[in-house]
Symmetry: C2
Subunit: 318 residues, 2 copies
């Protein structure tokens, strides 16, 4: 993998929300000045191939090739392979497109050859013309498990995609991440960062697994860089995905303020949406610098403005 000099802006990232934010960030600054540390807690083998949902969402989005309607997968992809696998008797609730399957097949082949996930991720983002450094949070298996009220315990993708994200979450098991090693470059990137951003991603299952890795919290605490989180909760609800059920499941409040409380020991500043501006004083009471701006990334312009706001907040805290 690339051993390029550390880049000044490091972003902790999950899937769709992070990808949209990063798209704005790389319009605000040189894309080569950004390193994204990406959640791999959602990784899973499907149909014999290694799927890294968040890495691929970020790669495809930064390449301008993501399927905008779904938020994941490749635009204009086809589904002939998955339909044929279904006809051969496979469970196909995880509907990988044909070109998307190629990415995962390529990843699997390279891993089987002995390459690391970081190296393969770097190869793929370069093939997609992405200038931003993308680091898997870990090369070890670190499946995030979701626990439901009936006692069911399942892989996050089973919870999200197969079962449609039921609301009766009772807990989230990050023990795999807690026992995994951070991926190559992850701790170094955090230590060398000038600014650290928590993308507007699910705090429980996207940012949570990254923070659960041994050494990450310590690296954040020891860093002299300002650490800024952007709220993924707007007007008391997640912009996308089941963050509400998951926050409730771990006993947190479903609000911008609730997210700020989760992160409080690790961050210096917090960006929430103007729709939640009345929570800003509660966030400030946590000892965090807080700004309220438009965080609903309807287009690249909003995302770019949001990124600039977050970076300005970081600069003000330096």
């Amino acid at each position: 993998m690339s051993t390029a000099a550390p880049t000044p802006i490091v972003a902790l990232a999950g899937g769709v929300g992070a990808a949209r934010f990063l798209r704005g960030l790389v319009r605000a600054v040189d894309p080569r000045d950004v390193t994204a540390i990406i959640n791999t807690g959602d990784d899973r083998r499907f149909y014999g191939v290694h799927v890294s949902p968040d890495i691929d969402i970020v790669t495809y989005t930064l390449a301008g090739r993501v399927d905008r309607q779904r938020g994941f997968g490749l635009a204009d992809d086809t589904f002939a392979l998955i339909d044929a696998l279904a006809a051969l008797g496979h469970e196909t609730w995880f509907r990988l497109g044909d070109a998307d399957f190629a990415t995962c097949q390529h990843r699997s082949l390279r891993l089987a050859e002995g390459a690391g996930l970081a190296e393969v991720t770097d190869e793929i983002r370069r093939r997609f013309g992405v200038a931003t450094r993308l680091l898997p949070m870990s090369e070890d298996p670190c499946a995030t498990l979701v626990e439901l009220s009936g006692g069911d315990r399942m892989h996050f993708e089973e919870y999200l995609v197969r079962d449609g994200a039921p609301s009766d979450v009772e807990g989230v098991d990050l023990s795999a991440a807690r026992n995994a090693r951070p991926g190559p470059g992850v701790l170094d990137a955090l230590r060398a960062a000038r600014s650290i951003l928590f993308c507007p991603s699910n705090p429980v299952v996207s940012i949570g697994p990254i923070l659960a890795l041994p050494g990450v919290r310590e690296a954040l605490r020891e860093s002299t860089a300002p650490v800024i989180a952007i709220s993924p909760i707007v007007a008391g609800a997640p912009v996308k995905g089941p963050a509400d059920s998951l926050l409730r499941g771990i006993g947190a409040e479903v609000s911008a303020r609730g997210v700020a409380r989760l992160y409080r020991e690790l961050i210096d500043g917090f960006v929430l949406d103007t729709r939640d501006r009345e929570e800003a004083s509660d966030v400030a009471a946590l000892g965090l610098r807080c700004i309220a701006v438009d965080t609903l990334m309807r287009d690249g312009d909003v995302a770019e403005r949001l990124a600039r706001d977050a970076l300005e907040l970081a600069d003000s805290l330096r």
Copy 2:
């Protein structure tokens, strides 16, 4: 795999020519009364998946789903995956379609789970609604290698597909087949057959590998069933593929008569095309019963008539 009672008609089969003939054969008789023993000398891993070109051609053709223009692959298949693999830097001269890839991925997954190729082949043909029993000639690796004048030696698919079947063949190496075990059911099927047919396939690289397997020639010699071969050479040329270069490469004459000579010790009867009827006396002089009929399978009617002619010839020799 199926341990059904042996079927009365056993056909040795390669790819396109065999598949077209078998399509006619299963119109002439109950498809369940036919067992095809299929060449696996062309098998190879591409992009991490186990491709069995001849098995798939026969399966797709008998299912009525083959791409008729190409003679292989699935009708109306798309090529998104292979194009995406090319964009990721893979050599993609072997252009597997998306649904075709699914067949091969399924096969690879089942093999990785410990299933045998015979079992997987049986599963796949059932999923495709094919009633005819299809037996891989072997479950062992038995790559057919082609030797060219410059000293190059390559896998048959590299010779055929990658390099476009150059004519300077100097030899064909079937040593892998000679050291492989016949697949489950192969020798039993031959021993129990009422009639044995050599499909109009390439004698060198399709039927040749089957005959090279330990025990197959003995089983044919010991069988009381009449053995009939159908010529794949019409008017001094192969109907499809590079049989001319390959026959020349092993020092055989490129003619119906030349094919009969190759098979003479193993067969009782020979079917050649009316266009080659002047060779019938030479074939008869080898001690073989010979008929001349229309062997150019332009459609299912011709293929069915050809199958009936071959079976009648077998019956006349019983």
